[in-house]
């Protein structure tokens, strides 16, 4: 139980760190007029991280996180 608690909190930290790094890279690319495709790829990656790990889209198809 304690391990599960720690792993969920740690996962949140890791996802946040990934989002922060991607945002920094995005800013550098955007302010240096690099090809737009990179900005789209980063935005989609960030969006996917939020959808899967923060919004738990997978809960829609399963019984994960069952509560009232």
């Amino acid at each position: 139980m304690e391990t599960k608690k720690t792993s969920e909190l740690r996962r949140g930290v890791l996802v946040f760190l990934a989002l922060a790094v991607l945002t920094a890279v995005e800013y550098i690319i955007g302010t240096n007029e690099a090809p737009t495709i990179f900005l789209w790829v980063i935005a989609i990656l960030k969006g996917a991280l939020v959808l899967v790990y923060f919004m738990h889209i997978t809960r829609l198809s399963g019984s994960e996180g069952g509560h009232e």
Partner: protein, 189 residues
Amino acid sequence: MTTPTSTLEKQAYKIGTARMGLWLFILSDSFVFAALLVSRFYLLGDKRPHLEQGLGLIVTSVLLISSFFMNRAEVQISQGNRKGFITSTLVTMLLGIGFLVGVVGFEWALAPFGPADGVEGAIFYMMTGMHAFHVFTGVVFLFIILRNGIKGRYSPQKHWAVEAAANYWHFVDLVWILFYPALYLIGTV
């Protein structure tokens, strides 16, 4: 007689339909933002509004950090940590208000154009205004779950409203993840 199994099945069904309803709402809401995003590229093309880059990065970071705390609040209530839930929700709320102040209070004041100054102004104020409205409603939603949390109405077994508020908040963050490069980074001034 109601057996424990049928109660559990009912509970699973109830949460399943509630989730489906929330996601359908999010899907329908996302069409509004998708239309705004398409309008931005259709009307402005490879040109972007002249905006404060530093401020854009700051408000984006603030919203990102708020999403982290929102996730933390949801995890904490699901683990029975009420105090942690209250603190994380309060921090999320304050960061949301900070984002609103940054965009509506500063970016709108610093922008060298008004809402009626052509396509650029119309797109910029409509995109940020619609998004800010959603952040505002998210803050109201957070205030409601915070108040209920203080009253002890949530438990690890019963916190659907927290999950719904968290999903809505992350959706608002997701929209900004797409709006930020579209407004601040893609194209030339």
